[in-house]
């Protein structure tokens, strides 16, 4: 297998020190995009609270949230059911999108995604084992398994992909993720088939769903995800420096090793936390950083910030679609993201210049 030509994610001309007029214009445009993304996110949040098997108008949503005068059924739908899953979508979307941005920056691989690389599979495997073998049932118990599984899977894919030695082979990484996913999902399905009573529960969990996940899941896991999100935002500067090459990064005073370790931990916490919340959801981490890079350019701080806002938009929209397409029933959100994301992967691989395997 030979290497794949990719553009380095950051160029010196767009770095933080380039104080030209075009950079200033670019800076203003970035704030504009970020503001636009925040507006989009607000719209998605309201839509997520309003749309469902019992539609509620936006005014009703506001009234329900502020304790105004609304029918009891509306309040139950908005506050009881949709508020937790909207918070869930917010956290999961931000976590997966930022994890994807870090994976892509770290591996210099535009096709990387925690789901495709098998990180979420590792997390999901650990949780499935915890549920099926150890009998852990509470989310506060299995969040540790989710994080640990994600960490181990990240390291395995990292080693298999030949990363950390300068040259990362994209095909190698993807195949490593595929092999890892195959092994882990094989073992999970072995467990599932040997104990059919666990069958439906594990299947629903494995498909990635926001349904029937309330505050009991969100409360114990959210702190990890929030700390992970904040910590990852701080990584942007170091990732920019590392993107210039190991030597330049060292000269700029950035520790390459510390950045890599920090990135791996960030990926594990974000992807593992998201998986603990909603089960394995693929392709969010692939699509969102691309959109973010497309509008902001290669500065990782902006890519990360914009991903954190656009990720929830994508996940919330996917979750709304999941509620609408089979109305009044619903499909797991992971299925919707797979249908949205797989075509994006195909388009990306067709439009990038890549050398043969």
């Amino acid at each position: 297998m030979s290497s794949v030509t990719t553009t380095p994610p950051a160029g010196a001309s767009h770095g933080p020190s380039a104080g030209t007029a075009s950079a200033a214009r670019r800076g203003r445009a970035r704030w504009f995009w970020l503001a636009g993304a925040v507006v989009l996110l607000l719209v998605a949040l309201v839509a997520s609270l309003a749309i469902g098997s019992r539609p509620v108008p936006p005014t009703g949503v506001w009234a329900a949230l502020t304790g105004g005068d609304v029918p009891a059924a509306d309040e139950a739908a908005v506050v009881g059911l949709r508020l937790p899953r909207t918070v869930l979508g917010l956290l999961v979307g931000a976590a997966l999108a930022m994890a994807g941005a870090v994976v892509q920056a770290l591996t210099r691989n535009p096709l990387a995604d925690p789901g495709i690389l098998g990180v979420t599979a590792g997390s999901g495997f650990a949780v499935a084992m915890a549920i099926a073998v150890l009998g852990v049932t509470s989310p506060s118990g299995y969040v540790w398994f989710a994080l640990g599984g994600a960490l181990v899977a990240t390291v395995v894919v990292w080693v298999v992909g030949g990363a950390g030695r300068g040259r990362v082979d994209v095909a190698q990484l993807l195949l490593g993720g595929m092999a890892l996913t195959a092994v882990l999902s094989g073992i999970v399905s072995a467990i599932r088939l040997s104990d059919p009573e666990e069958f439906s529960a594990l299947l629903v969990w494995e498909s990635g769903s926001f349904q029937s996940r309330g505050w009991d899941v969100i409360t114990p896991v959210a702190p990890f995800v929030i700390v992970g999100l904040a910590g990852t935002l701080l990584l942007g500067r170091s990732l920019n420096a590392v993107a210039l090459g190991d030597d330049v990064a060292g000269a700029l005073g950035t520790s390459v090793a510390a950045t890599r370790v920090g990135s791996v931990v960030a990926i594990a916490v974000l992807a593992g936390g998201a998986t603990a919340l909603a089960g394995p959801i693929a392709f969010v981490g692939l699509m969102v950083p691309h959109a973010a890079r497309w509008v902001t350019g290669p500065d990782q701080r902006w890519v990360l910030a914009l991903s954190a806002v656009l990720g929830p938009v994508l996940v919330l929209v996917a979750d709304i679609l999941a509620r609408v397409v089979m109305w009044p029933g619903e499909v797991p959100v992971g299925i919707v993201t797979a249908f949205l994301g797989a075509p994006v992967l195909i388009v990306l691989v067709r439009h990038r210049r890549m050398v043969g395997l």
Binding site: M1, V4, L111, I116, V156, V159, V160, G161, G162, R165, R167, D169, V170, A171, Q172, L174, L175, G176, M178, A179, L180, T181, A182, V183, S185, G186, I187, S189, A190, R192, L193, S194, P196, F199, S200, L203, V204, E206, S207, A282, F283, V331, P332, G334, I335, A338, F339, G341, A342, P343, L345, I346, V349, R350, M354, V355, G356, L357
Partner: protein
Amino acid sequence: MRRGGVVVTTLAVVAAVLAVAGLALGDYPLTVAEVGRALLGQDDFATTIVREWRLPRVLAGLVLGAALAVAGALFQSLTRNPLGSPDIIGFTTGSYTGVLVVMTVVGPGYLGTAAAALAGGLLTAVVVYLLAYQRGVQGFRLIVVGVAVSAMLHAANTFMLMRAQTEIAMSAAAWGAGSLSLVGWEQVAPATVVLAVLGAGVVVCAPLLRQLELGDDFAAAHGVAVEPARLGILGIGVALTAVATATAGPIAFVALSAPQVAKRLVRGPGLPLVASALTGSVLLLGADLVAEHVLPTALPVGVVTIVLGGVYLLAVLVAGARRAR
């Protein structure tokens, strides 16, 4: 060639030993002598067990393993890529989708399942090929498109399993895991006949394959019609996989790993077809014995091959990364 002969003989002996073990082991264990007598029909009870229950399964392991391995060898040789196997490009996931559609709409049944597996697999292969096509198909793009299409089909499969009634979902999931335990004479007999015909086709095509391995220009200079030959070989590979999948469900990674294992054993140039076929038989029979008798609960063989094959693929990738250093 001497080494090749030794390898082929050894593999054949191992396959025979595994086959006898498959016939002898079970809830009603038999000795080797009893198995022999039962095969000759000298003991009514044991004859029923061996001939009717265990023989179809063992035969399926031998024949389907060989078919998958040869299909993998053909794909890998044509794509000149050790990873160009039908499971990586989404073929098997597509078969599963086809079967799920038919099972939920029409209901279970061998003929419907077989036709659906064939149609689903072929359709997926064509779609993946076309989506990866850009002035020719190159390995990396084919694999990534395969990963993407597989992800979509996997999502669709999960969705259908969740929507289906529990009994249909259970039987579809059992098929989808890839199992030899449900295979009887009515499935093995037609599959073996079809696979034998396809095998004859492989024997005819083998010289063309060797020419193509040396490069398109070389083959053309030696009077090979390159594109028709490639299409014909591809068709045989697809048909081999489809028949195997239709019979036993999607059995992952045998097609991927068997040709490469055989190549390492023989150490010759190119992919050895006979040794690959025997390696496939040994792998599938061995995995089935593990699935049925070694693990605490009997599991579908596909679960064992997917875990073994995934570990094998990881090992290949790690070794490759180490060499690249």
